[in-house]
Symmetry: C2
Subunit: 202 residues, 2 copies
């Protein structure tokens, strides 16, 4: 069984135990002739996948009533994977979703590391620094790199911690955020767990 | 006495009681022949102003020892204006600085409303929403506009509030942020108060 999570920048596959990514810019989904269960947040890719009979859109096979209409299917499926906790999915955006007793409580969207780094740089060349993930979050900064890192990371940290639940870190930048959430469970295949749960119910 | 705070996008003047702005793109500082006391964070404008004898750079007339080397002079001068509180200066960036007994405690830098709005839009067209400043900050969102607004505003709010001090709102977007900080003192001329204090000591 092949699973695929199609994002804004890549097709993320799980084929048996092997997970790998292909760029949305270069990958041709016609290349796969086996059955693929997928979810997709990328409108352009979605149009192509809709025409392929062997690509099964899992969003058509699940109960969406606990979620809201415009919520990304990747967030929904990650929520389906756990019964309690805060999911921090760090991709091109960072989505933070809270689940309690298997029910979605709400969530928010924050810019991903790359986008936010670009944002500071665009505001002023004086703000063109790499984020310091080893920043001491308990102290107000007194240098530019930390002032930006704190602005990006500390306030995300405080909000996530405030929910006092297990933290699940997933997405391409999960490892970066692990520095500020050292007790989080890193699970880069969380979304595939959610997909498997949905497939089991079909 | 004419005061001027030169930012990344505009020259902000205070001439007597009248404050007005000129775009950095079109304003020619040679046009003013009177003495102008100024501060400037804009490297391009700084080069021009350095050549004009009637433009007095206040950064050369103050004790910087409490601040850090690369800290924007606009943040420093705003800190000089108060003795206790959190200053939220909402311009192209939002700077948040804490002052206790007249001493700078540290601060951080967050993207301004325009830059952050652009950031979400750049990540995905599905995130192209206006921020909802009237968002209920006590509830996790269940719609896209609020998910983005919460990501931008709630976590800024929580951090600012956590310092448990008077909040001073200044900068071009002070009025927008007033919705989330209803008890803040709005003072669009805070920086000019800091400049006057420095001039008094020269």
């Amino acid at each position: 069984m092949i699973l695929c999570d199609v994002g804004n920048t890549s097709y993320h596959f799980l084929d048996g135990d092997r997970d790998y990514k292909q760029s949305v810019k270069t990958f041709n989904p016609h290349a796969i002739t086996e059955r693929v269960y997928y979810i997709c947040v990328n409108p352009h890719a979605k149009k192509i996948l809709d025409t392929l009979a062997n690509w099964i859109d899992l969003s058509r096979h699940m109960d969406m009533s606990f979620y809201y209409d415009t919520m990304g299917i990747d967030r929904i499926v990650a929520c389906e994977a756990i019964s309690d906790g805060v999911i921090v999915d760090a991709g091109s955006a960072i989505t933070v979703d809270v689940v309690e007793n298997g029910v979605f409580q709400g969530g928010f969207i924050y810019p991903g590391t790359k986008a936010m780094s670009q944002t500071y740089k665009t505001i002023s060349s004086a703000l063109d620094y790499q984020f310091n993930y080893d920043l001491d979050l308990s102290k107000l900064p007194k240098n530019s790199q930390d002032a930006i890192s704190y602005g990006y990371l500390k306030i995300l940290y405080s909000e996530v911690i405030s929910h006092a639940r297990d933290i699940y870190l997933t997405g391409g930048d999960a490892n970066k955020l692990n520095a500020i959430f050292p007790h989080a469970k890193i699970d880069e295949t969380l979304i595939f767990k959610g997909m498997r749960k949905i497939i089991d119910k079909i």
